[in-house]
């Protein structure tokens, strides 16, 4: 019947890639886990194994070239939902989209939400993800009450801040290397409605931006900014802040558009991006707008275009997310200058100030400071050189880069950003590894 919604399709083996589609990797096998009870018989042989969620990591942290991927996405059952207290226990393959579909009608929301709903609970824990409310809520892992971890020795252990606490700390932000998370129990937050009262304000310099952040952090749960990185001169962009609103009627979420094939590379040349940024910036007619918005377009604007990563064409793209401490503002300005003068950046540039709430994971990326995330279409060596330069600046400033979005940092950079990696490697499952892990620990002895 023509009225049916478009069916969504299954993954073929070749589809087990990462979101940036760099590097290309081929697993020797994919084991899909449909039932928690199947894990007891999971046969990994002697290959290195790695859990895989929905592949929304950009680089190679969710890839295992030549090894086995354990696809946990069919594990999407709820186990218990305390409607009164907002405590949800669910299998690790449940996507945040599926979770919200169940939770929002009952007045509950994710305590921390990334920029897409298409990530699994397991993936959210394994990268200890952050959201627009980091200054108020910290990372996702802070709201995890407990989870169960399956290890290749066949053991199944419950972990919480008081039970197997070290494994709990290592697994949050542990990039899938400590075992398979089978279920997760999280504390949701209550919301008065599915809508947010949102304000969007133009800024024309980094100082203006910082002033907006400090004026907003106490009264606004969510803040995030979009920055135009294609212009030389002062940093300009749009600052957004929002809180869930009581009452009101949201607009109905639209069916997602989709990019059905890879776009040719000219679609993203620098003048096209420049034009796009110019348009976005000027589309907002007034200095500030204020309106009621449904949570989906506010939190997940990119989900409105399915497979948007295809706009970068076959060669894929790099995403680079770094942070520097607050006292390294000068370094941050220098990095911005470097990016805009290189003219390689694209339109998806997100700026956010992390608060001082400590991350619970041993390897978690978020710490207090300024963080910027941006895409770079893959232009081969030129792009890699630029990112190496940025790494040097980030390192000098005492910052770090987010592994979930990385496909290229050197072992030296990684080990400087995460000196605790040796301690972490004591907790990894001896049979687990990833393309990322092999790359960033190459040549080192743990």
């Amino acid at each position: 019947m023509l009225g049916d919604p478009a069916p969504s399709y299954a993954l073929a083996m070749a589809d087990y890639q990462s979101w940036g589609r760099i590097p290309k990797a081929t697993a020797s096998a994919v084991r899909r886990v449909y039932w928690r009870s199947e894990l007891a018989e999971l046969d990994l042989g002697s290959s290195a194994a790695l859990p895989y969620g929905l592949g929304r990591s950009y680089g190679d942290s969710c890839l295992n070239d030549g090894g086995i991927l354990i696809d946990t996405s069919p594990l999407s059952r709820l186990i218990h939902f305390d409607f009164e207290r907002g405590i949800l226990r669910a299998e690790a393959g449940l996507s945040l989209q599926q979770l919200l579909a169940v939770a929002v009608p009952r007045g509950w929301f994710l305590p921390v939400s990334p920029g897409t709903q298409f990530v699994t609970l397991g993936g959210a824990v394994a990268n200890d993800i952050h959201g627009k409310n980091h200054h108020r809520a910290g990372t996702f892992g802070r709201h995890v009450r407990r989870f169960e971890l399956w290890r290749s020795d066949g053991s199944q252990q419950e972990c919480s801040p008081d039970q197997n606490a070290e494994l709990f700390r290592a697994t949050i932000g542990g990039m899938g290397l400590t075992g398979v998370i089978t279920w997760v129990e999280i504390q949701l937050v209550g919301i008065p409605s599915p809508c947010l009262q949102m304000e969007r304000i133009r800024f024309r310099s980094l100082d203006e931006y910082l002033a907006l952040e400090s004026e907003s952090s106490a009264d606004y749960e969510y803040t995030v900014s979009w920055v135009d990185c294609m212009r030389s001169g002062p940093t300009r962009g749009l600052f957004q802040r929002a809180n869930f609103a009581g009452g009101g009627t949201p607009r109905k979420a639209r069916r997602p558009l989709c990019v059905p094939f890879d776009l040719p590379s000219f679609a993203l040349n620098s003048s096209a991006v420049k034009l796009f940024n110019q348009t976005i910036f000027q589309l907002q007619q007034s200095e500030r707008i204020s309106r009621l918005t449904h949570y989906a377009p506010f939190f997940y604007p990119l989900d409105a275009v399915r497979d948007w990563n295809r706009i970068y064409g076959k060669r894929g793209f790099f995403q680079y997310q770094f942070l520097v401490p607050n006292d390294a503002e000068e370094a941050f300005r220098e990095i911005l200058r470097r990016i805009s003068s290189a003219r390689q950046g694209s339109f998806l540039v997100i700026l956010k100030k992390f608060g001082n709430i400590a991350s619970p994971g041993l390897m978690s990326f978020p710490r207090e400071g300024l963080t910027l995330a941006l895409d770079f279409p893959n232009r081969g060596q030129a792009t890699c050189d630029l990112l190496d330069d940025l790494d040097e600046l980030v390192q000098q400033a005492g910052g770090c880069v987010y592994p979930a979005k990385d496909a290229r940092m050197s072992p030296a950079s990684f080990q400087a950003y995460y000196p605790q990696w040796k301690e972490f490697s004591r907790y990894t499952d001896p049979q687990f590894s990833s393309s990322f892990w092999r790359r960033v620990t190459a040549g080192a002895v743990a």
């Binding site: 019947m1 023509l2 049916d4 919604p5 069916p7 969504s8 399709y9 299954a10 993954l11 073929a12 083996m13 899909r32 449909y34 039932w35 928690r36 009870s37 069919p74 059952r77 709820l78 186990i79 218990h80 939902f81 949800l88 669910a90 169940v102």
Partner: protein, 245 residues
């Protein structure tokens, strides 16, 4: 639709349909053969808002047991509004060809069990002059293909049976829904290489939910399989036997 019996309730497709009924606050009796899996499905449906979820561990090759399930559901749920038959196996064709008893076993599971349930269900709903009988058959039942005719003919048996039953129940207010999915990415097809035509269990499960509520009769899902079925039916026999599909 408040009270629903699902047989083969651990099926990936049936779970998706059940989730939608659970969100509506339905009461469900889930029948399957594996207690761990059944418990996991039951927990899921409770947490999604089902008013009541009962489980029953049954090997559905047992036809005598199949014939009692409608009564059990009526008793446990305090009545019944719909039956969804989802169990099925995709047997190894070569093994079946070499072993008639295995063929009959598979035939029994895929056709005789469903027919047993349908006859009991039809009697119950006909009396009440309302209800919904739904079975997941398959696109494979549309023609006998040499690569898959044992599974296909069992499904075709059920489809033909449903067509007749629909005639019998016409005007009684009972709907008879024949769901014919194409390739769906589930444990049943885990061993097959995935190509572009594979749909997800979510989309197929949601289509079944809508078809049961609307009381549709024959449903191809995803929708384009209707046209593929039509083309298959139009291929002349002399050519069809030579095709390696």
């Amino acid at each position: 639709m408040k009270r629903i019996l699902i047989t083969g309730a651990t099926s990936a497709i049936a779970q998706e349909t059940a989730r939608l009924f659970a969100a509506d606050g339905a009461a469900l009796l889930l029948v399957g053969r594996d207690s761990d899996k059944l418990a996991a499905v039951a927990d899921d449906l409770r947490a999604r808002g089902a008013e009541k979820v009962e489980t029953e561990i049954v090997d559905l090759i047992d036809l005598a047991r199949c014939s009692r399930l409608i009564d059990e559901a009526v008793e446990k749920l305090g009545g019944l509004d719909a039956l969804l038959v989802a169990q099925g196996t995709l047997p190894d064709q070569a093994e079946c060809e070499a072993d008639p008893l295995k063929t009959l076993f598979e035939f029994s599971l895929n056709a005789m069990g469903p027919i047993t349930l349908l006859l009991r269900g039809a009697a119950y709903f006909e009396n009440r002059r309302s209800g919904c009988l739904a079975v997941i058959t398959s696109i494979a039942g549309v023609r006998g293909r040499k690569t898959n005719y044992i599974y296909g003919s069992a499904k075709a048996t059920v489809s033909t049976f449903l067509e007749g039953l629909r005639g019998r129940l016409c005007g009684t207010g009972v709907s008879v829904v024949d769901i014919r999915p194409g390739f769906v990415d589930t444990p049943m097809t885990a061993h097959l290489p995935k190509q572009a035509l594979f749909a997800t269990p979510e989309s197929v499960g949601a289509r079944i939910y809508r078809a049961m509520i609307a009381g549709d009769d024959v449903v191809y899902t995803p929708w384009f399989w209707r046209w593929i079925a039509l083309v298959l039916q139009l291929i002349p026999r002399r050519i069809f036997v030579k095709l390696s599909i």
